[in-house]
């Protein structure tokens, strides 16, 4: 399996505190990966580095077949490469409709000029299909601020799908969801991982078990263990720092 993203030897410190310490990580083109670790392990910071929000002090982040470095790129350029991110808190544009949110996310050219010229007519059918997939077709023209918490999570996932990313970074997707919503989310993520790389950060073990994928355990900014869920949960170090608490 060819590698899509390779992070090697990355370190970041905030005011002397090493949030990420010599971290290395690889993921293939159509792979699901769960990242677990106690609070403050550096999971969100890890995503910040890949998406360009945080610049690492050292290390490399190599992307795609042409092995380009993501480090010098702006957040927008990285996103245009096909790296997409879902935040811990659902962040949709509350002032705008479901349709508008999806339209902004839809994979189209992003320059000022292209966006000024953009005409939505040809894309409406695709947007409706997306809204249908996330169960929000009935709310297509509603302000997204009026949606329930779960529906906002859905909309955000819909926006990720609309971007048609090569790599999907999902930060704690199941937080605040009902059991049935969780199941729906699991199915969507598993489905997405068939054609692209998906990295899921999650605390909920049950959720991770259902993803049925390789697990990376982060602790104090570096990888503590990697392998199947059963493999890592039987690792004594992992039990000590994380599961045992």
């Amino acid at each position: 399996m060819s590698t899509l993203l390779e992070v090697s030897g990355v370190s970041v410190s905030f005011d002397g505190f090493k949030a990420i310490n010599n971290l290395s990580f690889q993921i293939g083109k159509a792979e699901m990966r769960a990242v677990i670790g106690p609070n403050g392990a550096g999971k969100t910071t890890f995503m910040d580095i890949i998406t360009g929000k945080t610049k690492p002090d050292e290390g490399r982040v190599i992307w795609g077949d042409r092995s380009i470095s993501l480090l010098g790129m702006s957040e927008a350029k990285i996103a245009q490469q096909g790296v997409c991110r879902k935040f811990q808190k659902p962040t949709v544009f509350e002032d705008q409709s479901v349709c508008d949110n999806l339209m902004m996310a839809l994979k189209r050219r992003r320059s000022v000029w292209d966006v000024l010229k953009y005409r939505p007519a040809a894309d409406i059918a695709r947007l409706e299909q997306l809204a249908d997939e996330i169960g929000l077709l009935g709310e297509f023209n509603r302000q997204s601020g009026e949606l329930s918490h779960g529906q906002k999570q859905w909309l955000e996932i819909g926006m990720l799908l609309a971007q048609d990313p090569k790599l999907l970074l999902v930060d704690e997707p199941a937080a605040g969801m009902t059991p049935s919503e969780r199941e729906h989310t699991t199915n969507l993520l598993v489905e997405a991982a068939k054609t692209r790389a998906v990295v899921v950060v999650e605390h909920d073990m049950e959720f991770i078990r259902r993803l049925n994928c390789k697990v990376t355990v982060l602790h104090e900014g570096s990888v503590l263990a990697e392998g199947s869920l059963d493999h890592v949960t039987s690792n004594q170090e992992v039990i000590d720092v994380y599961l045992g608490r």
Partner: protein, 389 residues
């Protein structure tokens, strides 16, 4: 622009109709073309107000829609005025100089004429030479290009530096204030090349035009109304559709917009520059009606007033900005023009010339606290009532 565009923007149609009606009304009542019910000086006030409305909608786009609280857009307004003022003053002075040299026995040389014009214009600041920046002042076309180019370039360079470094929020506001202050202080100097604190004057006299002020004032009112209408249409079209969504997205959560793959800095720079240019056009129409421009016009306070108008009118909707600018600036003219009757309280007399500023300040605070949608928010109430029926 199809039917649905108009259907989606009922306010655009209403606005343009009201603007046309207003212009027609003023024309019918003007001294030059109608019943002389409205004095020429009031026509000028109304024409100037239209220009203020235009700069206000530019401010609304940059602040209300994109969330960039620029407190420097009046600098661009003033620069536009200066650029057109240079031609007006040059051409007019040339006309006067030529006329006075007409009767000389020996016809004057080019240099003599040029020196005479320079002395006329720059005598007040103790100079008799044209500064380099007046190189194009003889050409209306070139100066009109500069109306757009100079403020546009300043906005582009300033915006590029500021946005590239991710300066946002209150820091950006302070930076824009610093820019206007620096510009004003520079212009206050006698050797700035723009006549220091004297500024440019006599701008109401159009060169080579013999028509009386009553007619000229109407021409400018028409031009200002047309500019406002076009500006309104331009911004409405620009903000419709995906571009407007991205801009509002930047206002509400710019980091999120970045992660969607949009280069936020490019959008901000584009908006900052385009609105600066519109502000400059408004200024270029305003100052020939005002007759004079000096550096005091672009002191930082002017840009703050601009933000106050937009806040009072209701930001995030173009007609709100128009209402705010028209309402507050006309009221301000009335209060500070001495027309408002003073209120004698026996022990103290409230004189509106002094107290108007206080009143304006208080209303700004009240609007910000209790009616963040401004006067424009009243229209939402009406809409709600209709829906309930």
């Amino acid at each position: 622009m199809g039917k649905s565009f108009i259907k989606n923007h009922p306010t655009l149609l209403i606005f343009l109709a009201l603007l046309a009606l207003f212009t027609l009304g003023v024309t019918i009542m003007s001294e030059a073309y109608g019943t002389a019910f409205i004095s020429t000086s009031f026509v000028k006030t109304l024409g100037k107000t239209l220009c203020l409305c235009l700069v206000a909608i530019a401010m609304d786009v940059v602040w209300g829609y994109a969330g960039i609280l620029s407190l420097g857009h009046f600098a661009f307004f003033g620069l536009g005025g200066y650029m057109v003022g240079m031609w007006l003053m040059y051409e007019r002075t040339q006309e006067v100089v030529l006329r006075s040299l007409e009767n000389q026995v020996i016809p004057p040389t080019e240099t003599e004429i040029s020196d005479a014009i320079a002395t006329q214009i720059f005598g007040v600041v103790g100079s008799a030479d044209f500064p380099l920046i007046w190189s194009f002042a003889h050409s209306l076309t070139l100066q009109l290009i500069l109306v757009v180019a100079v403020p546009g370039l300043l906005a582009l360079v300033f915006g590029w530096l500021a946005f590239r470094s991710r300066v946002t929020g209150v820091y950006l506001s302070i930076l824009t204030q610093a820019m206007t202050l620096a510009l004003a202080l520079y212009l206050f100097q006698n050797d700035s090349g723009l006549r220091g604190n004297n500024g440019l004057s006599g701008l109401q006299n159009l060169p080579h035009v013999t028509a009386p002020q009553s007619e000229i004032s109407m021409w400018f009112l028409w031009a200002s109304a047309a500019a406002l209408g076009l500006g309104y249409l331009f911004f409405t079209m620009m903000l419709t559709g995906k571009f407007g969504m991205v801009v509002k997205g930047i206002r509400d959560n710019e980091q999120r917009v970045r992660f969607l793959g949009y280069e936020v800095e490019h959008y901000k720079l584009f908006l900052f520059t385009v609105t600066a240019i519109v502000a400059a056009v408004a200024g270029a129409l305003y100052y020939p009606q005002a007759g004079i421009i000096n550096p005091a016009e672009i002191m930082p306070i002017a840009s703050i007033y601009l933000a106050v108008w937009v806040a009072i009118g209701g930001r995030g909707r173009l007609y709100g900005a128009v209402i705010g600018a028209a309402f507050v600036s006309l009221l301000s003219t009335w209060f500070t023009g001495g027309q408002a009757p003073d209120i004698p309280l026996g022990f103290y007399t409230i004189s509106w010339v002094d107290w108007w500023q206080v009143l304006l300040g208080i209303s700004f605070v009240l609007v910000t606290l209790y009616a963040p949608k401004g006067i424009g928010g009243l229209f939402d109430l009406l809409k709600c009532k209709e829906v309930q029926k």
